[in-house]
């Protein structure tokens, strides 16, 4: 439940639903193609604690997007199922989506873009959208159109939109891979800051090891149809990319990442 009564449009006033856990149970996906059937993965069991920032890492074609799309309920699994659970045990969880490109309606302002996804929220008011735009650092851009924003700012609107529905789980498929490195770097820090402020589980797909280490609590490696790597991230936050601990852990993770190459 989110409060809408407060006058002040400040990020501090966001009262967030608590994070949900994610459970993949014996999950498998096979595509039927003209050349026959193609198994992307099978028998995957995973439990993700509420509030965890998980990064799913894998080479191109390993099935990251497929898995995310199943978790997002965009694709049906061939076998198994995905369950979300709130801390109180209920299973009705909101999902927030952030895509690789911002996917904003170009003819709508930032506020209207957020309003668009609140069709079923009778209490929606523009102050709600503004609060989330504030949260991602877009205070002076409420009524701008996407074309009037930089690529990084557009992606921030995308993040604000996903957060505004107060999701228990935030699903992100390479959301920064279209941005230049400096902008992406800024957004990563921003995302961590926001995530620390709001209690959310994040399921984040990437092919960039440094990004995964910087963001995650836990790194999953997908390849050859299974999760072959599952690492706890031992680093304290905030994280220095050039610190010894960072580089050491990165070495270790990269070794594991390449361990299935034959």
């Amino acid at each position: 439940m989110s409060t809408k009564q407060s006058e002040s449009v400040s990020a501090e006033s966001i009262d967030s639903q608590s994070a949900a856990s994610i459970h993949l149970e014996n999950l498998g996906k096979t595509f039927d193609t003209k050349e026959g059937t193609e198994e992307v993965f099978s028998g995957i069991d995973l439990d993700i604690e509420p509030g965890t920032f998980v990064c799913l890492l894998g080479k191109s074609g390993s099935g990251k997007s497929t898995m995310l799309n199943i978790v997002s309920n965009v694709l049906e699994p061939t076998e198994g199922r995905v369950v979300f659970r709130n801390r109180d045990g209920s299973e009705d969880v909101n999902l927030g989506h952030v895509f690789q490109s911002p996917r904003l309606l170009p003819w709508n302002t930032c506020v209207q873009n957020i309003e668009y996804v609140h069709e079923n929220n009778p209490d929606y008011e523009d102050s709600h959208a503004k609060r989330y735009l504030d949260l991602v650092g877009l205070k002076n851009h409420y009524n701008k159109y996407p074309t009037q924003l930089s690529g990084g700012q557009q992606q921030r609107v995308g993040i604000a939109r996903a957060l505004s529905i107060d999701p228990g789980v935030l699903l992100m498929d390479e959301p920064f891979s279209n941005l230049d490195e400096i902008t992406a770097e800024g957004l990563r820090e921003e995302l961590v800051r926001v995530w620390q402020k709001l209690d959310k589980t994040v399921f984040f797909v990437t092919h960039d090891m440094t990004e995964a280490i910087q963001l995650s609590d836990r790194i999953l490696m997908l390849g050859k149809g299974r999760i072959y790597g599952d690492l706890e991230n031992p680093l304290d936050r905030p994280r220095e990319l050039d610190s010894n601990e960072f580089l050491e852990f990165r070495q270790k993770a990269i070794r594991l990442f390449h361990s299935i190459e034959d």
Binding site: V74, R103, T109, V117, N120, T147
Partner: protein, 259 residues
Amino acid sequence: MYTNGKVIFLESTVALLVFWALLAHGLALTDTISSPTLVFASLVELLLSGDWVVHMADTMRRVIYGFVLTTIIGTVLGVVMGMSDFWENALQDYITIGLALPSLFAAIFAAMWFGLSDVTPMVAAAAIAFPFLTQNVYEGVKNVNYELMEMSSAFDVSRNRAIRRVIFQSVLPEWFAGARYSFAICWKITTLAELVAASSGIGYMIEFQMHKLSITGVLTWTVLFTMVILFVEYGILQQIEKRVFAWRQSTEIGIMGGA
């Protein structure tokens, strides 16, 4: 850029008028090419007499009939072609032919079938104009951003809302550009059809002045016609467009090409 274009337009118009005046008066050619002052005087006289009102009203009415017919046919066929492969294949070639159809052909055929009634300019205008709108709407529907539709369903937005907020909005600019262009075509074809078969209207009056061999008369009516078109184009259509498409930084849409 935008203002520059306007300045250049003004400058070139003035230059043309000066050149025309010099040629007419300097070489005593007023019988053949009239002159700006003669046309201006005759235009003032016409406007004061009020005779133009009935002709303008007749032409306007026919233009609007033609435009309404164009809009209906053009939009429906465009949407149908954009959504169904069958209709896309079935109609594509006809639209291509339609785009190339000579205006006079449509005017003469309509006149032979419908005679002196308002139906003649209406049908002639719609026959020439609708393919432009169809083509635009068709391309607009084809280019609806699939990712935005996916985003909508990921956020549980209902189908109706997605149609209103995504599909309709993304086709609107193409629709508007097509509608504006077809509107200009409707003007041209309506006056052309009036010239072929009508007993009133601007096209009819231009033809009437031509028979009197009055070049000043022909030019007076042509200038009046142009003034009205410019008013509709800049005073009405562009203002609507500015409002509707505020989200686009620039809306440079070609206007009034050859028909």
